[in-house]
């Protein structure tokens, strides 16, 4: 009666017809986490998901089937059925030369629960100490994906991606003033250092204890990594395969030409140990590597999955990833990194007699990614004079064009990048340093 269970079957037994290409993959995603939030019951979670996927290509069409439970024969039949009305593609399958095969054993150790517990509790108590009214929220999560893949070219491999994530923050509400701080750290080898994140959050909370009033105008602004990533999103959009195939990207004919400041280099890097997407293959089984997308401002490579690569006459570079476990593969970088610049935090703050620091940008995403205009309410904005933080600025809207900001207005790039997890509005995780942008429009409601 209650009979839905995964059909047994070995991926290695998938067989292909001579006139078709295809690949099959089996993914197992697990997460363990503990969340403590002021006023609510703590929650300890474990999730486990399986996904099988088959893609069949024949006569320039793609048939695809995914399922959490179906056996390989059923999936392959469904994918072949889907060929009848399948989308037109130019893709082929990866020529996997070798690698590990299953079983890859999960790294999860049940004893880690007590370590997670200790870290969450320590950071939570540290944040609670900021103020009697401070409402903290702290989560530690361990994410782990194992994937096994075969192709119609007799390729077969398997890989694992696993990383830790610590997120922490909270707020104090005083009247109608919400004074919030938040931050995150990722790690490939164990729980990130909670004390370091706590120190940073405590410092930022103290910066914001006093208010500072500025006038509307144009200011130099240090965009801290979470909002610097927001500036990068329109850049990634212009580089991405779907925009190029659709003819929407103004950069479609700019390869080899300068598009951003010479201080900006953007890389898709699948080799970073702590990177959520680090691994030997992307989700299409294409071998990954480090690919420079923009080198000192010059456009070098686009972000292409196998289909977009073939359509546009490029070699696949291993930039096809699923946004969700059961989602379709789309063109996306592995881990996005912006090469750090030369300047320390202190030097960034002293480049101008007065400078703003922006760390929270409500709605800070473009109305039109191809155009790059971004305007949002500054929820975490500080005024700095001669390197000293003077206080928190309220009721300000920060407006930029991301391309102008990273081309003409960029002054400096910091030397201390920080990981930003993939989010609801962000196609890839990133490791991004702070950037100093001059002449940023700031409208203030007095």
């Amino acid at each position: 009666m209650i009979g839905y269970r995964r059909t047994e079957g070995l991926i290695g037994e998938v067989r292909w017809a001579p006139d078709e290409m295809g690949d099959a993959s089996e993914s197992h995603r697990q997460t363990w986490s503990l969340t403590m939030q002021g006023g609510q019951a703590p929650m300890v979670r474990h999730g486990s998901e399986y996904m099988r996927s088959v893609r069949v290509m024949k006569n320039g069409r793609l048939g695809m089937a995914t399922s959490r439970l179906d056996g390989w024969d059923d999936l392959q039949r469904e994918a072949r059925d889907a060929l009848r009305h399948g989308v037109e593609v130019a893709m082929d399958v990866s020529d996997i030369l070798g690698g590990r095969t299953m079983p890859i054993v999960s790294r999860w150790d049940p004893d880690w629960l007590s370590s997670i517990d200790a870290t969450v509790r320590a950071v939570y108590e540290g944040l609670k100490g900021l103020s009697p009214d401070f409402r903290p929220v702290v989560t530690v999560t361990y994410h782990e994906d194992t994937v096994e893949m075969v192709t119609s070219r007799n390729g077969r491999t398997a890989w694992m991606r696993g990383y830790w994530e610590l997120t922490a923050g909270g707020r104090q509400v005083d009247g109608t003033d919400f004074h919030g701080v938040s931050g995150a750290r990722l790690s490939g080898h164990g729980i990130p250092d909670g004390q370091k994140l706590l120190d940073e959050l405590q410092a930022r909370f103290h910066w914001g204890r006093s208010h500072y009033v500025i006038q509307s105008g144009r200011y130099p602004v240090v965009f801290l990594p979470p909002v610097a990533m927001g500036l990068l999103n329109p850049v990634l959009a212009r580089l991405s395969g779907p925009a190029l195939v659709a003819g929407n990207s103004p950069w479609e004919d700019q390869q080899g030409l300068p598009v951003l400041s010479t201080a900006i280099s953007v890389v898709s890097d699948a080799t970073l140990p702590e990177g959520p997407r680090s691994g030997p293959f992307d989700d299409e089984g294409t071998p990954t590597a480090t690919h420079t997308l923009i080198d000192k401002g010059v456009l070098k490579h686009f972000i292409l999955d196998r289909d977009a690569s073939r359509r546009l006459g490029h070699e696949p570079k291993g930039m096809g990833y699923r946004g969700t476990l059961n989602g379709p593969i789309q063109a996306a970088p592995a881990n996005v990194t912006v090469t750090p610049g030369p300047s320390t935090w202190s030097e960034l703050l002293r480049r101008f007699p007065g400078v703003l620091i922006l760390n929270g940008w409500i709605g800070g995403r473009p109305t039109n990614p191809m155009r790059g205009d971004i305007a949002g309410n500054a929820s975490d904005l500080y005024w700095v004079e001669k390197g000293e933080v003077m206080g928190r600025v309220k009721n300000a809207v920060v407006s930029v064009n991301a391309f102008d900001a990273l081309r003409e207005q960029l002054i400096d790039v910091g030397n201390d990048p920080q990981w930003i997890a993939q989010g609801m509005m962000q196609i890839a995780p990133g490791k991004v340093p702070p950037v100093l942008i001059d002449q940023v429009d700031v409208a203030v409601k007095q």
Partner: protein, 469 residues
């Protein structure tokens, strides 16, 4: 639509047996079958056509004030999953143990079937794709600057079985469908886009007959190409019903979610019931009982029946949105707002259909006396942190001496929630039931189907971002 379990109350009976544990304070088991279809097109071709079926469930246990939550694919080994959830809750014991339990609600025994107008699951993939490609053709031939048209359609059928150890046993069917047609115009001046969106919980018919809207979207995108950027500053703003609905959702609805208030004495000092929050004719409420809207939710994901919740009535704060846990902590009544996007997530407090009731000002009178202002239409989304909100208008026009004069681009409306509500100076009588194909995001659960129905609003001293001069 899977039919083999549609009338199988043996599922509920089995789950009830598993839920009858006396070694926990609370225990819920949820099983689901989700069947999803998605079609994407670009110009004259289908780029993606996906049909997936997810089968799985979750177990949530509350023990000594700590939740253990397990989600899984498939329906086997349910007893093991129950034991694991208890183990996880036990592992957290001592972290923050309060012994607190959630608000008691009467057990519900319910079988809820779909009541459809036009069933999307009976429409072939070919027909759905053809409808989208037809709209793409309408847009592409509307103006020479139209360079691309992308469309997206999805429908999602959910069949859920829910039991808890308080006697509830619920079998529910749900449907959600939506999508959009996005038109991109491009010339040497730059790029501009405009879209048409649709959504429903019971009728594929909303996908039909959109030709005029699509054509208008294409013409609007073309007209926005050479529009100057808005100059940032304070303006009197008139927002259309779509954007007003997003405002109600982003600016006030999220603030009314009790899981954002609990444990926050500073916020509770502001959100005390009885506080004056807006003009005397401002009435905002949240309902799960509006059949056909994407926010329709007769029973929530904790087995609580939907209540209409007045949030602001006659300009006064009168209510908030609850799960069983938050209701318990406030000593109030659960409102049926605990929702989970998928069996991979626990239920949290979410909106359903958030509504601003109509006022008595005509559309024309909303513009009276505005020397220089902004008329903002449609929405490309919004965001809030409780105190501050930002929403991106799809279109904006300059108002000069009470007249709409010319288009502007990059209209981003922002503000402080509390002061902006107080600055609503007129509520229109043009109430509109707008349903979009987007969704709400919170705590990683996105896109959750929600609706917002509203009239136009006039807001004084609204802060608008922009780099124009």
């Amino acid at each position: 639509m899977p039919q083999d379990h549609a009338a199988d109350d043996g599922v509920l009976a089995t789950l009830q047996t598993l839920a009858m544990r006396d070694d926990v304070d609370e225990l819920e088991i949820r099983l689901e079958i989700n069947e999803t279809t998605q079609i994407d097109t670009l110009n004259d071709r289908i780029t993606r056509q996906i049909h997936t079926v997810d089968v799985g469930g979750n177990v949530r246990v509350l023990l000594h004030g700590v939740y253990g939550f397990v989600h899984f694919d498939g329906w086997d080994n349910l007893g093991d999953h129950v034991n694991e959830a208890i183990m996880l809750a036990t592992s957290g014991y001592g972290v923050h143990s309060t012994g607190r339990t959630n608000k008691e609600v009467s057990g519900i025994r319910l079988i809820q079937r779909l009541a459809l107008k036009e069933n999307p699951l009976a429409i072939s993939l070919d027909t759905k794709g053809a409808v989208l490609l037809h709209y793409a053709d309408v847009a592409r031939t509307a103006h020479p600057t139209i360079k691309s048209v992308t469309t997206r359609y999805f429908d999602r059928y959910r069949h859920l079985w829910f039991v808890n150890n308080r006697g509830s046993a619920i079998e529910q069917e749900k449907l959600d469908l939506g999508g959009n047609i996005v038109v991109v115009a491009r010339d040497r001046q730059g790029v501009a886009q405009r879209g048409v969106s649709f959504g429903s919980s019971n009728d594929f018919g909303v996908v039909r007959g959109l030709e005029d809207e699509v054509h208008e979207a294409a013409m609007t995108a073309a007209s926005l190409l050479d529009a100057p950027e808005i100059a940032g500053g304070e303006y009197t703003v008139v927002v259309d019903p779509h954007l007003a609905g997003v405002f109600a959702h982003e600016a006030f609805g999220h603030l009314s979610e009790a899981d954002g208030q609990v444990g926050d004495p500073g916020l509770l000092a502001q959100m005390h019931l009885g506080r004056n929050f807006g003009p005397a004719n401002l009435h905002i409420y949240d309902t799960g009982r509006d059949a056909g809207s994407r926010g329709y939710l007769p029973v929530d994901d904790e087995g609580v029946s939907a209540e209409d919740v007045d949030l602001i009535k006659d300009g006064v704060l009168v209510g908030r949105l609850h799960s069983r846990e938050t209701a318990s902590r406030f000593g109030e009544t659960p409102t049926g707002n605990a929702r989970a996007l998928h069996y991979r997530f626990p239920p949290i407090v979410r909106m359903r259909n958030t509504v601003i009731a109509p006022g008595d000002t005509t559309f024309e009178d909303l513009f009276q006396g505005i020397a220089k202002g902004i008329y903002a239409k449609g929405s490309l989304g919004g965001q809030t942190n409780g105190e501050l909100f930002t929403f991106l208008a799809a279109e904006a026009y300059l108002i000069e001496d009470g007249q709409v004069t010319r288009p502007l681009r990059n209209a981003v409306l922002t503000g402080n929630v509390f002061s902006t509500l107080a600055n609503i100076s007129a509520v229109g009588n043009d109430f509109t039931r707008y349903e979009s194909g987007g969704g709400c995001g919170k705590a990683g659960q996105m896109p959750l189907p929600v609706s917002h129905h509203a009239p136009s609003l006039r807001i004084e001293r609204c802060l608008v971002g922009g780099r124009g001069r």
